[in-house]
């Protein structure tokens, strides 16, 4: 059984077609980079996988079942600016907030919940900062809080939206290693990014998206310059091609 199975997905936003005929499969153990220019529909695709975006047609199947918010085995890491960082809350409480839906109405976090939060914090190496207010943390640490919040649900699939944006190279490298090892621990990881170097370097597979899927393969197989120029709408002389070593 595939971790994630998308067939013939069409999504419109405000009456305009954003995604057409998306076909994408993910297996556990894969770290897949979703690449494309601004407006290509990367975030929309993630939202459609979470069934937060209304689809026009097609199916999204997670671990053999149709995707449903709060029911499917997906951990979501939205872009960092979605989170209210000036909120007076500690790191561990922020991670616990990821389990709100699972704990359920009128119930308080129990032993299982705190254990899951503790494990998630260990996994991203933030245990030492667990009592710190979230507002006092750096960009890289904040990104790791969001990853821990997603991991607190123990998901089989992890969706990451632009995890590298605004972070320096050492921090990116650290996070890239984290995502690689999360995938190796029998998770399917799908990540959108504008950081082509990091993606080519750490992803097991790349998907080039611009409204539709233009290419889907291992980084070594995507060296045809035309795929990149079509996806990003750049000329054949663009430095982008040098970045991804396409000819």
């Amino acid at each position: 059984m595939r971790a994630l199975d998308i067939e013939g997905l069409d999504v419109d936003l405000g009456g305009r077609p954003v995604l057409r005929d998306i076909r994408l499969h993910l297996d556990r153990g894969e770290l897949v980079g979703l690449l494309g220019p601004n407006g290509a529909g990367k975030t929309t695709l993630l939202r459609a996988i979470l069934s937060l975006a209304r689809t026009r047609g097609g199916t999204v199947t997670v671990e053999g079942k149709p995707s449903r918010p709060g029911r499917s085995d997906i951990g979501y890491v939205p872009q960092r600016h979605e989170f209210t960082w000036d909120f007076p809350i500690s790191v561990e409480q922020a991670v616990m907030s990821g389990r709100t839906g699972r704990i359920g109405l009128l119930r308080r976090p129990g032993v299982t919940d705190w254990r899951a939060v503790g494990d998630a914090l260990d996994r991203v190496q933030l245990t030492g900062l667990r009592r710190r207010p979230v507002g006092e943390l750096s960009g890289g640490q904040r990104q790791r809080i969001l990853v821990a919040r997603a991991l607190a649900l123990g998901p089989r699939i992890l969706l990451l939206d632009e995890p590298f944006t605004g972070l320096d190279m050492p921090t990116q490298e650290l996070l890239g290693d984290l995502f690689t090892s999360l995938a190796r621990e029998d998770r399917a990881v799908l990540m959108t990014t504008h950081d082509l170097v990091a993606a080519v370097d750490s992803c097991t597979r790349l998907v080039l998206l611009n409204g539709r899927i233009i290419a889907d393969g291992q980084p070594a197989d995507l060296q045809d310059a035309e795929l990149w120029t079509t996806t990003f709408g750049v000329s054949v002389t663009s430095p982008l091609l040098k970045l991804v070593r396409a000819t």
Binding site: G70, I89, S97, T100, G101, I103
Partner: protein
């Protein structure tokens, strides 16, 4: 007037309205303090302002029909909160413009309605600026009951409210109904406003919602502490405000709000970690200010509350 005289007046059966006013003012500022924490943290002060004004037509209708002012205000406020929540789903006009439209529209409707009642000028002033006299006994129970219901709902939905405040997108992904949680929060804000109208008045009620919570935020980085500090600041401001208002014959709503504002300013200057002056004293260059050479500046170092 000394504190003892104030206590004597509170126990004087001829002045029975005074303890009633105190009870209502304290109860409503506690409720407003708790609910206000969400309002401040979500940056939805404008919504608080809108429902505060929107309860006015309801109160006007209740006044004309001789019904319960609290009930009339609640109905109008909740209706407006729902209208704002529904209209702001259309993203072409931003939420703050929608709020602006309904805020002024509702208030205008209230003015037109109340102008139909004979001798409205006096009652208008009472609505707008609050009053400690003429509170029916029934309102004590209404305010107490409504306050308990509001605090109960806050306790029950706190975890969900926090999740939505933190990250709406993630909350949707977790399967939380963000739209309905928003509506419940708006309704709670409305009810907190309505039960506070009697003593504080329509114009100033926003202060009870925002000021104690904002002061509490300055004093702590922990949500739990903030949600205890805010009602404490509110309750103390209401008590001190009523005492000053009674002593110096000043309008009660205005006095309570001025006390709360003073607490906020003190927190802004002297908060333990983030206060303006506290930070200056901590800096090596500014150290002499905090030295024992200036004992006069010592008491100010301790935070207000």
């Amino acid at each position: 007037m000394s504190i003892t005289e104030f206590l004597t007046d509170l126990l004087n059966p001829d002045l029975a309205f005074l303890p009633k006013a105190l009870a209502i003012a304290v109860m409503s500022s506690i409720v407003c303090g708790v609910v206000g924490c969400y309002v401040v943290l979500r940056g939805m002060a404008f919504i608080g302002d809108a429902v505060a004004h929107a309860v006015f037509p309801g109160i006007a209708v209740a006044f004309v029909l001789q019904g319960s002012l609290v009930l009339g205000g609640a109905v109008a406020g909740v209706a407006t909160a729902l209208l704002i929540a529904i209209f702001s789903q259309n993203r072409r006009v931003k939420e703050d413009s929608i709020i602006g439209v309904f805020l002024v529209g509702a208030f205008a409707l209230g003015i037109v309605i109340i102008s139909q009642a004979p001798g409205y000028a006096g009652s208008l002033q009472q609505f707008l600026f609050g009053s400690i006299t003429g509170i029916p006994d029934r309102d004590l129970y209404v305010v107490g009951g409504a306050g308990l219901v509001i605090l109960g709902l806050v306790l029950a939905l706190h975890k969900e409210f926090v999740a939505v405040c933190l990250d709406r997108e993630m909350s949707r992904a977790m399967g939380l109904s963000v739209f309905w949680l928003d509506i419940v929060l708006y309704v709670l804000v409305t009810l907190a406003v309505v039960i506070s109208l009697q003593t504080i008045g329509n114009i100033l009620v926003l202060a009870l919602l925002i000021t104690p919570a904002a002061a509490a935020r300055l004093l702590t980085d922990r949500l739990g502490v903030m949600m205890l500090l805010a009602p404490l600041i509110g309750g103390v401001s209401a008590t001190v405000g009523l005492y000053l208002s009674w002593s110096y014959d000043t309008p009660v709503g205005g006095t309570i709000v001025l006390v709360a504002t003073a607490v906020f300013l003190a927190a802004w200057l002297f908060a333990p970690r983030h206060g303006l002056l506290t930070r200056r004293w901590r800096r090596p260059g500014g150290q002499e200010l905090g030295d024992d050479a200036h004992p006069s500046s010592r008491p100010a170092l301790s935070p207000a509350k």
